[in-house]
């Protein structure tokens, strides 16, 4: 499926120089007497690079077979991460590059969004908030629920976060995956 410059719009996924890219900001530019252009801010879905490109009105661009699907995270076999579409039980395996930083927040049986390109996972997006167990931290300081201060804690996924001093090993914490910050005890 190809698109002409005037069909470009936010969210459209296209192929550029062999990589799938997502359009983030599309603007029609036409000086009164000059040629028409479509100026687009794009993100390369494989590398994450964001850049600007302008298309002439008679240029066309190939669509990319990219879709986002909600899946359940199953397990890591030491090399690949396995996901399943809950309704159909279809399974997908993603490598480390595709999973990227999301690996820090992946808990078995949690639902996350898997971006597929030609039916292969290229990116994983976890929910904005996840609940994870503390597996290692210094003993909690009783009665310190109001005071400031923090300490490191290691979570069940291997991620390390700063937590308040009163947090104990075995506590379940709510984490904001966009910032990697502790939010509260779950």
């Amino acid at each position: 499926m190809g698109y002409s410059a005037n069909q470009l719009k936010n969210g459209l996924k296209v192929m550029l120089e062999g990589d799938p890219c997502a359009m983030q900001d599309v603007e029609f530019v036409k000086p009164g007497k000059g040629q028409a252009f479509t100026r687009v801010k794009m993100r390369n879905l494989l590398t994450g690079r964001v850049w600007e490109r302008t298309f002439k009105s008679n240029e066309s661009v190939e669509g990319a077979d990219v879709m986002d699907r909600d899946m359940e995270y199953l397990y890591n076999d030491g090399e690949l991460y396995h996901f399943m579409v809950p309704v159909t039980f279809e399974q997908y395996a993603a490598d480390e590059t595709a999973v990227g930083d999301a690996a820090k927040w992946l808990k078995e049986n949690d639902t996350c969004m898997v971006t597929l390109w030609n039916d292969n996972p290229i990116a994983i997006t976890t929910a904005n908030f996840v609940e994870l167990e503390v597996v290692e931290t210094d003993p909690g300081l009783k009665g310190d629920t109001a005071q400031g201060g923090s300490k490191p804690a290691k979570l069940s996924t291997g991620a390390s976060v700063r937590v308040p001093l009163f947090i104990e090993q075995g506590d379940i914490l709510k984490i904001d995956t966009r910032t990697g910050d502790y939010v509260s005890r779950a």
Binding site: K30, G32, K33, F37, R53, K56
Partner: protein, 321 residues
Amino acid sequence: MPDWKPTTCIKSLHKRAAVFASIRQYFSEQEVLEVDTAVLSQCAVSDPFIDSLEVSFRGYPEAEAETCYLQTSPEYAMKRLLAAGSGSIYQLGKVFRNGEEGRFHNPEFTMLEWYRLGLDDNALMDDVERLVQLVLDIGPIRRCTYNDIFKEKLGLDLQKSSTAQLAEAMHKHVEIDMSLDDRDAWLNLLMSHLIEPMLKDESVFITDYPASQSALARIKEGEDGELVAARFELFVGGMELANGYHELTDSQEQQRRLSADQQTRKLLKLPQRPLEQRLVAALASGLPDCAGVALGVDRLVMLALNASHIEEVIPFTFRNA
């Protein structure tokens, strides 16, 4: 249920009507005559980068269609009136441009175009400034030549820059796949992609356009002896608001430019459309010395209302009409 509601709000329509009223009052006081020329014509604009919408006229429903064109500006018709002795005139009405759709564009839009006898481009800028200040709360509008704005905003000296250097300056900011042979295309890209956004907090008349971008303006000698177009554009809030000329009155030069546009269209594989020979004939019979300008009224209302999309100031956009 289809979405039947207007894209603007009724309050904005009141502002829009007030802008129309101020425009008419201004020209009434100035004793400039209001005219309303045909929107539908057998001829189309020659400009290679302005595409006319085609309309099929039929003598009776089953008859073979005659192709007509919706006017992209009332310029040709108004010049025929000027040559016929109308005196200074203005027109406030709809024009149509194929394919133009976006935040600042709607294929059907409202244009104010006016011609003043005996004025040149400089005097016409004073006139534009007075009119715009009736609607917008802006101070005196700075004037800056085309060459100087490139120096000021991009550090480019156009008299010393090759087309390859212009392309290189563009590629630093935005990627584009375009051949190097068309210098004006690169100038337009730099202007629309880099300079215009830098003008978002100011109002400026850009004057003395390159002679190669003269359109229907006469050629004059610029500050440093270089031949330039007696053409200006007004930018307010980073938007191209008006485009004016000290009008070309030489019919032979007019004929040459129409033919050159047609040649460019052929080269670029753009549609060949009937040229308005009645314009050439009108100039041959004598167009009085005058300056003229076209102003995008929807954009003027956008600025008055601080709107970010044209849909906020027109009742129904193309996709809702």
